[in-house]
């Protein structure tokens, strides 16, 4: 198993906020949003909303979901499952680990 890619410091992402990591860094089909929940935990989802083209890194993180900044479909931070129209397709969740204040991303690995 890989060591993961160091994508940011924990201090770069405020609680309840997100940042987008370019696919050039992650090597994935889409950019990846690192989203930090209110309790301080980090999660990772494909960044582009499955409805249109919004960046989920700009979404509102609350109660285990991120709400799309354009039309407010919600995606589960752990599973990527969509809850609520207009989006109908689930998104992809990736594994994230925080070690020594640094955020490591494991692209295309399921979160544990």
């Amino acid at each position: 198993m890989s060591e993961g890619i160091r994508v940011a410091s924990l201090d770069d992402v405020e609680e309840g906020e997100g940042i987008a990591i370019s696919k050039e860094v992650t090597g994935t089909e889409d950019d990846i949003a690192i989203l930090r929940d209110e309790a301080g935990f980090c999660w990772a989802l494909n960044d582009t909303c499955t409805h249109e083209t919004a960046s989920l890194a700009d979404g509102w993180v609350e109660d285990g979901d991120v709400e799309c900044p354009l039309h407010a479909s919600k995606f589960n931070l752990k599973t990527g499952e969509v809850d609520g129209l207009p989006a109908t397709q689930d998104t992809v969740a990736h594994r994230v680990e925080v070690r020594d204040g640094e955020i490591y991303l494991f692209p295309n690995e399921k979160p544990v």
């Binding site: 405020e14 509102w60 900044p69 354009l70 039309h71 129209l85 207009p86 109908t88």
Partner: protein, 407 residues
Amino acid sequence: MVASIVIVGGGIAGVSTAAALRSGGYDGDLTLVDAGEFPYDRPPLSKDYLAGKQELAALALQPAEWYDDQEIRLANRTTVAALRPAEAGVELSDGTVLPADRVVLATGAHAARPPIPGATSDRVHVLRTAEDADGLRKALLPGARLLVVGGGLIGAEAASTALGLGCEVTLVDPLTPPLAAAVGEETATWLHDLHAERGISVLTAGVDAFEETAGGIAARLNSEHAPRDFDAVLLGVGMRAETTLAEAAGLEVTGGIVVDAGQTTSNPAVLAVGDPTRRRVDGVLQRPAEHWEAAQHDGTRAAATILGTPQPEPTAAWFWTDRHGLHVEGVGRMADAGHTVVRGTPGDGPFSVFAIDDGRVVGAVAVDDTKAVRASRRMIDGRLAVDLDDLADSGTDLRKLLRAAKG
């Protein structure tokens, strides 16, 4: 026990009702009847779909297999002709009667076509359905002269899309600024002025008549003597609730199908959701909501009523609209507020305007600043008091402000 439900109309309200019934545990018979080819979403019809950037298939409200997965019988290309409350059923246009212990009317609305002389010309368009959008798009050739009548949500969006397609656009509205009731006077003015800045001719006028000419259509405006020539016209003057079935069934209809807080009409076996409805709260008829999320929430409420489960917590009304590359959102009530607080500078990046009553946020409208609206909605719903200077300071993190207010 409710063992069969027929939903009439497959817009966001009808589809949301069906989804909420299933997720709420209803396992009886469920039929969704819709006149169209498949249930699709309307907001893109004045935006990317009109611009030719999206196919109709991409607008499907649910993938085709969803209906099977959810055991929802989708009767597409089918019209309900009448309600048969006495027989606990609905009659389709081919005479078939479907049994229904409960009927949910989700019949939506039509684009209004006011009786302006000449408005029946093929060159005068409205915009409600995909067919309307297809017809209008054919007229939006580069250089085509388009007159948009009405600067509200749909008129402004279509005008902006047409401009992007290279049309020469004129926008008329008798009110300046349009939309003041929805977004407040100052933002309405800023948004309306943006049209002229981007190259649309904006006139304060109404239309008295249209007349077909050799190769186009002439419009007589009430503000000037000589008619003006156009290639096409779009009427964006509001909607007319589809209430035919409700009226024929003797339900209470007053500018919309009248429903209670749980979406039940004057007949307890018939509920109604979305654009055709008007809610009566404490004996007072509310204005029709006419927005996407309101229709979705109606569906959730109707399902809760049928299932006898608790109603969802009420939340401030929310809508979005897009024009000239800007994403605009509104929440709560902007009209008649005590005063407003502005965060950011209109014209210089994202900004938001908050309506304040008694020191509390009661509404907000934001341009390219969706977090301000998300935060405001929570302030409104929670009746939270926040420091107004902090609110106005674009350096303040609104999430933190919200958290501090929650205590």
